[in-house]
C-alpha cells in the first residue's frame, strides 16, 4: 500500500502531498523535512529506493521535481516506479508537456488527476486514456456550471440596470 505521495522540488519546496495513512499535521511536516533531506541529497546514479522508518520510499526525479511514494517493506518497488511514471505521463498529456509551474498554479488539477489514479493508496486505473477522459468530463461539468452562473449573473445585471 502507498502510505503517502510527495512532490518536492529540488529546492525542497513541497508541490503536492497526499496522505493515505493517518499522520498528524506535525508529523506530516516532520516527515517531509526528513525525507526531502535524505532524497535531495542522493546522487544521481544511486538506486531509487530509500529505506526509512521501516518503510521504503520510492522516488524518481523528473526535471526539477522529485516524485516520492512511501510503501511497505514487502511491496513491489519496481511497480511503484512504474506508477510514478504512469502519473507523470498522465500529467504530461493533460497539461501538454508539464512543467513545475503548471503544477504550482494548477495544483488542484494535479490532485484531481491523482485521485483518479490512486484511492486508499492503491492503483485504480492502468489506462491513461480512461483517466484523461474522466478528468475532461468533470472539467466540462465545471465549465458548464460556470457559464450558467455567468449567464445568470448577466441576466441579473441586465434586469437590475
Amino acid at each position: 500500500m502507498i502510505h503517502f505521495v510527495l512532490l518536492v522540488s529540488r529546492q525542497g519546496k513541497v508541490r503536492l502531498t497526499k496522505w493515505y495513512s493517518p499522520y498528524a499535521q506535525k508529523e506530516r511536516s516532520k516527515v517531509i523535512r526528513e525525507l526531502s533531506g535524505v532524497i535531495l541529497n542522493r546522487g544521481p546514479k544511486l538506486c531509487n529506493f530509500v529505506e526509512w522508518r521501516g518503510y521504503k520510499v520510492v522516488y524518481k526525479r523528473y526535471a526539477s521535481l522529485y516524485f516520492c511514494m512511501c510503501i511497505d517493506q514487502e511491496d513491489n518497488e519496481l511497480e511503484v516506479l512504474e506508477i510514478i511514471h504512469h502519473y507523470v505521463e498522465i500529467l504530461d498529456r493533460y497539461f501538454g508537456s508539464v512543467c513545475e509551474l503548471d503544477l504550482i498554479f494548477n495544483f488542484h488539477k494535479a490532485y484531481y488527476i491523482l485521485d483518479e489514479l490512486l484511492i486508499a493508496g492503491e492503483l485504480q486505473e492502468s489506462s491513461k486514456k480512461t483517466v484523461a477522459r474522466i478528468i475532461s468530463a468533470q472539467d466540462q461539468l465545471v465549465e458548464a456550471a460556470k457559464e450558467e452562473a455567468s449567464s445568470i449573473s448577466n441576466i441579473i445585471a441586465q434586469a437590475t440596470k
Binding site: N76, H86, L141
Partner: protein
C-alpha cells in the same frame, strides 16, 4: 460583498507568495490572505467560498495552519453544484484526516452523494471515502459501497472496490459482505475494475481464511486464464507499457495467485505453467518487465515446491544481481533474503557478488547486502568473509561503519573457529573502528582473553603493538590497558610466545609509558583514565623498579576535578606508600571471568534495545571496580590478613557491587549489602536529599553517564532507561549469595508476608494480596509491631514510591502503638510496569516515646518479583 476576499484570485495569491524574497515576506502575504479568508468565512460569502478553499489548500501545502477552513469544506460538500462539491471534497481530503471529529459530520453528505444521480458526484464521494474513511464511517457506509460494486459504470465499480479495501482494513469483520461481489469483479473485462477487484480479493484473503478457501476453489482457474490472456494479448495501445500489456494487472494477478497458491499444492499446480511462461517470456530490458519478473519470482518462491520453477526463479535473481541498474540489484538482494529460507544453497552461490554489493557506493544497496551477507555466514565461510569485511572497514563510509562494525563483531563472535582467530579479528576491528564497537562487545573480548590462559601473553603483546599504531581508538585503549595491567609481566618477559609471533622487546618502563600516554591523552574519558590508574597500580606491584614513577603518575591525579579519579588516585597512592606489604596480594591477577555467566547476562539484557550504558553494570568494568574495592576492604580492616581471593565469579560480582557502597565505612559484609545497593538506586530515583549519584565510588558506565546529569529529574531518566538491567543485577547478587532469604525466591501466586522493616524497636510486616481482575494492583496490609515496653504515640507511617508506581494509603487503625502491641494500615500499590520492574518503596515512620520524637527511615525492596 466582502471587499477583501474579492480582491485576489488564486493565481494572484500564488504569484504574490512566489514573489516573496524572504520567509518573513511570505509569512506576511499568507497572513493577509488568511485574514481575508477568515473575514469572508465570517460573512458566509457563498460566491468566493470555493476560491477561498483553494487558496487555503495552497497555504496548507506551505505548512501554515488552516484549521479554520475545515467547516468550509463541509459547507461546499453540502452545496448542490458539482464544482463546489469537487473542490469541497478535495479540501476535505487535504485539510482533514480520519482522526478529526469534524469528519463525523460529513458521513451524511457522503451517503447522499453516493446515491446521487450524477455519476461523477458519486465518484467524488467514493474517492473521499476511500482516502479518509474511519472505522465508524466504514461501518455506516459499507452497505452503500457494496451496492455501488454493481453500479452500471465501470469507473464507479472500480472506485467502490478500492473503498471496500479501505473499509476492510478499518473493520476486518466487514470482509464477509464483500466476498461475493469481489468474486464477481474477477470476471470483469474492464482493466480498472479487474485490477481493483483482484486487489480487493487479495485483501479479503488476508483477513479471512474462509474467504481464502472460497477463492482458492472457485477462482484460481479463472485467474490463471485471465493472466494467460493478458500475457498473450496482442499489442493494445491503451494499456501498453514498454511493449507489455498492462504490467499493473500482471502484478496484481501474480499477487493474488501467490496468496492462493501458498500452502496449497493443488492450486500451486494449477498455476505452474503460466508462472513458467511469465518467468521465461517476459522482456527484462525495461523496468515494467522487471517489475513483473520480480513479482513472479516472489510468487514462485512462496507457492508450493516445484523444483524446475525454483531454479528458473533463482536464475532470474542471479541475472538481476549482475544487472548494471542499481534498482534491479537492490530488489534482487531484497528477494535473495527471502529466498534464503527456501534454498540457501542457491543463494550461497551468489556470495561473491553480494559481497561486492556491500562495497557499493549506494547506501541502500550496502545496507541490504550487508544484511544478506550476515545471514549467509556459517562456520565454513566465516574466515574469508570476515577478512573481506574487515578489509572493507578501512575504506568504508563513516555513516556505514557503525552498522558494518556491529555486524562483523557479531559474525566473528558467533562463528569463530578458534580463540586466537577471534582475538586477532577483534583486534583488527578495534584498531580500525574502535569507536563503533559497543561496550558489551569489548567486554566479551576481555572475558574470552581471560579464559584463554595460553593466549594471555599473545594478546597483551598484540594489543601493545596495536596501541602504538591506533591510539585514538578509545575501546582499543581500554582493552589494551586492562590487559597490560593484568599481564604486564607476560608483556615484558615474552612469556608464552607463540610460533606465529614476532618477538618484541618491551622494557618495564615501556609498559608504564604506554599507560601514561593513555592517562594523559586528551581524548581519554573517565572510564579509560580510571582503568589506566588501576593498570598502573598493578604494574607498580609487578615491577617494583617502576614503583616510584607509577606513584608520581598516580599522584598527578590527586587534584583531578573528577571525583572518581581523585579518589582512586588518593587511595592508590596510600596503598603504594603505606601498605607495601599487602599490595601484591591486593592487585593479584583477576580470577577468570565466567563466560557462561557473562553471555547469560548479555542475552538477558537485550543488546539491541538497551542503551549500551545499561550493560556496564554487569560486565567487565566491574572487574575494575573490584580491584578498587579490594584494597579498600583492606584499608578499612587492616588487622585482618589477606582477604581470601574470591573464588566464584558470582562472588566477584557481589564484591563489585559492594564497591559501590564501600565509601561508607559502616558497610558490613552480609545480607545488608544487596539491599544497600538497591537502596542507592532507589535513593537516586526518589532523590530525597541524597548527594548526587556521582558520589558513588564505582567506575560503572551508568554512573559515569549520570555525571552529566546533575538535576534529579535527569538522573531519574538515566535510571529508568537502564532499569531493565538494574533489578536483574540485584537478583544475581542474591543468587550468588548462597542461602538466599526465602521470601525473595518465592514466586507463587499467593504472596507470603514480608518483613519490610525491622529495627530494635519496631517491626513492620506486609501482607500482600492481589485481586485477579486488577493484576497491576497489589493490596498491602501493613502490620506495625512495637518491640519495646513503651507506648508509641502520634504514630505516623509515610511512604514514597517511584513514578511508575501509584500508591494509595488508607488511615491506620490507630495512631498509638501499645507496648508490645500492634496496629494495622492498608495501602494499595499499582505498578504500571508490572513484570518489568519490581515494587520498591521508601518509608519513614515517626512516633513519640514519652513525648520524645523518634524518626525511622528505610527502603523496602524485598517485595516478591512480578508484583
Amino acid at each position: 460583498m466582502n471587499p477583501f476576499s474579492s480582491g485576489t484570485r488564486l493565481s494572484d495569491m500564488i504569484r504574490a507568495i512566489r514573489a516573496s524574497k524572504t520567509a518573513a515576506e511570505e509569512r506576511a502575504v499568507v497572513r493577509k490572505e488568511c485574514a481575508a479568508i477568515r473575514a469572508s468565512i465570517n460573512e458566509n460569502d457563498q460566491d468566493y467560498r470555493h476560491r477561498d478553499l483553494a487558496k487555503l489548500m495552497f497555504i496548507h501545502m506551505l505548512g501554515y495552519p488552516t484549521h479554520f477552513g475545515q467547516m468550509e469544506c463541509l459547507k461546499l460538500i453540502a452545496s448542490p453544484g458539482f464544482p463546489e462539491k469537487r473542490i469541497g471534497y478535495l479540501g476535505l481530503m487535504l485539510l482533514l484526516d480520519e482522526r478529526q471529529e469534524v469528519l463525523m459530520l460529513v458521513t451524511n453528505s457522503l451517503k447522499q452523494d453516493m446515491n446521487h444521480t450524477n455519476q461523477y458526484i458519486v465518484g467524488l464521494a467514493l474517492c473521499a471515502l476511500g482516502n479518509i474513511c474511519s472505522a465508524e464511517m466504514a461501518r455506516d457506509l459499507a452497505p452503500e459501497v457494496e451496492r455501488l460494486l454493481q453500479f452500471r459504470d465501470p469507473n464507479i465499480r472500480k472506485k467502490a472496490a478500492l473503498c471496500a479495501i479501505r473499509i476492510i482494513r478499518k473493520v476486518p469483520d466487514l470482509s464477509e459482505n464483500f466476498i461475493n461481489p469481489g468474486a464477481a469483479l474477477l470476471k470483469e473485462k474492464h482493466h480498472g475494475v479487474l485490477i481493483t477487484g483482484v486487489h480487493l480479493c487479495t485483501e479479503i484473503c488476508s483477513v479471512s481464511s474462509e474467504a481464502l478457501e472460497y477463492f482458492r476453489k472457485k477462482c484460481t482457474e479463472g485467474l490463471v486464464r485471465t493472466l494467460r490472456d493478458i500475457a498473450n494479448s496482442p499489442y493494445s495501445p491503451e494499456y501498453d507499457v514498454a511493449g507489455i500489456t498492462d504490467p499493473f494487472l500482471h502484478i496484481r494477478l501474480l499477487k493474488l495467485l501467490r496468496v492462493l497458491g501458498q500452502g496449497d499444492a493443488e492450486a500451486s499446480d494449477c498455476m505452474n505453467d503460466i508462472l513458467a511462461q511469465v518467468a521465461s517470456k517476459t522482456e527484462s530490458n525495461k523496468n515494467a518487465g522487471n517489475a513483473i519478473l520480480y513479482e513472479c519470482v516472489q510468487t514462485i518462491m512462496s507457492i508450493e515446491e516445484n523444483g524446475g520453477l525454483r531454479v528458473l526463479a533463482i536464475n532470474i535473481l542471479g541475472k538481476f544481481l549482475s544487472n548494471r541498474d542499481n534498482n534491479i540489484r537492490y530488489v534482487a538482494l531484497n528477494m535473495l533474503m527471502r529466498a534464503l529460507t527456501v534454498d540457501s544453497q542457491a543463494v550461497q552461490r551468489h556470495r561473491a557478488t553480494i559481497l561486492e554489493c556491500v562495497k557499493d557506493s549506494d547506501a541502500s544497496i550496502q545496507k541490504r547486502a550487508l544484511e544478506l551477507i550476515y545471514l549467509l555466514v556459517n562456520e565454513n565461510n566465516v574466515k574469508p568473509l570476515a577478512k573481506d569485511l574487515i578489509e572493507y572497514l578501512e575504506v568504508s563510509d563513516e555513516d556505514f561503519k557503525g552498522d558494518l562494525t556491529a555486524k562483523i563483531c557479531s559474525i566473528v563472535e558467533k562463528f569463530a573457529p578458534e580463540k586466537i582467530w577471534y582475538i586477532d579479528q577483534m583486534l583488527k576491528v578495534l584498531s580500525e573502528a574502535g569507536t563503533y564497537v559497543k561496550e558489551d562487545v569489548w567486554h566479551a573480548l576481555i572475558v574470552v582473553i581471560t579464559n584463554a590462559p595460553d593466549l594471555h601473553g599473545y594478546a597483551v603483546r598484540a594489543l601493545y603493538r596495536a596501541l602504538h599504531t591506533s591510539s585514538e581508538q578509545e575501546t582499543l585503549v581500554r582493552v589494551a590497558i586492562w590487559c597490560i595491567g593484568e599481564y604486564a609481566d607476560l608483556l615484558v618477559n615474552n612469556a608464552g610466545m607463540l610460533e606465529v609471533e614476532d618477538p618484541i622487546t618491551v622494557t618495564e618502563s615501556d609498559a608504564v609509558d604506554i599507560v601514561e600516554i593513555a592517562i594523559k591523552h586528551h581524548t581519554s574519558d573517565v572510564t579509560t583514565k580510571a582503568m589506566a590508574l588501576i593498570a598502573l597500580l598493578k604494574i607498580s606491584s609487578r615491577f617494583p623498579s617502576c614503583s616510584e614513577r607509577v606513584k608520581s603518575i598516580i599522584g598527578q591525579n590527586k587534584g583531578s576535578f573528577v571525583l572518581e579519579l581523585q579518589q582512586r588516585s588518593l587511595e592508590f597512592s596510600s596503598v603504594i606508600q603505606k601498605h607495601q606489604n599487602i599490595r601484591s596480594s591486593l592487585v593479584e591477577r583477576m580470577p577468570v571471568l565466567d563466560e557462561a555467566t557473562f553471555s547469560g547476562r548479555r542475552a538477558g539484557s537485550l543488546p539491541a534495545s538497551v542503551p549500551t550504558s545499561g550493560k556496564s553494570s554487569l560486565g567487565i568494568p566491574n572487574g575494575v571496580a573490584k580491584a578498587a574495592a579490594a584494597p579498600l576492604v583492606d584499608l578499612l580492616d587492616l588487622s585482618s590478613d589477606d582477604t581470601p581471593a574470591p573464588t566464584s565469579s558470582s562472588n566477584n560480582f557481589l564484591q563489585d557491587l559492594l564497591g559501590v557502597d564501600l565509601t561508607q565505612p559502616s558497610a558490613q559484609p552480609g545480607t545488608m549489602q544487596p539491599s544497600q545497593a538497591g537502596a542507592d538506586i532507589l535513593l537516586d530515583l526518589l532523590s530525597i536529599g541524597t548527594p548526587a549519584p556521582v558520589q558513588n565510588g564505582s567506575t560503572n558506565g551508568d554512573l559515569l553517564s549520570m555525571q552529566d546529569n546533575n538535576t534529579p529529574l535527569a538522573s531519574l531518566d538515566t535510571i529508568s532507561s537502564t532499569s531493565p538491567t538494574a533489578p536483574s543485577s540485584m537478583m544475581d547478587l542474591l543468587d550468588g549469595f548462597g542461602p538466599t532469604p526465602p521470601k525473595i525466591e518465592d514466586k507463587g501466586p499467593a504472596y507470603p508476608s514480608i518483613v519490610a522493616f525491622e529495627s530494635s524497636s519496631l517491626k513492620i510486616e506486609f501482607n500482600l494480596a492481589k485481586q485477579p481482575e486488577t493484576p497491576q494492583t497489589t493490596d498491602i496490609e501493613a502490620k506495625f509491631t512495637n518491640l519495646t515496653p513503651n507506648v508509641y504515640t502520634d504514630f505516623l507511617f509515610q511512604a514514597a514510591v517511584p513514578k511508575f508506581l501509584q500508591l494509595h494509603l488508607d488511615p491506620a487503625s490507630s495512631n498509638s502503638l501499645p507496648a508490645n502491641g500492634s496496629i494495622k494500615q492498608t495501602m494499595r500499590v499499582t505498578n504500571s510496569q508490572q513484570g518489568k520492574k519490581p515494587i520498591v518503596m521508601r518509608m519513614r515512620v515517626g512516633y513519640k516515646i514519652n513525648g520524645k520524637d523518634v524518626l525511622e527511615e528505610g527502603q523496602i525492596n524485598n517485595f516478591p518479583r512480578g508484583l
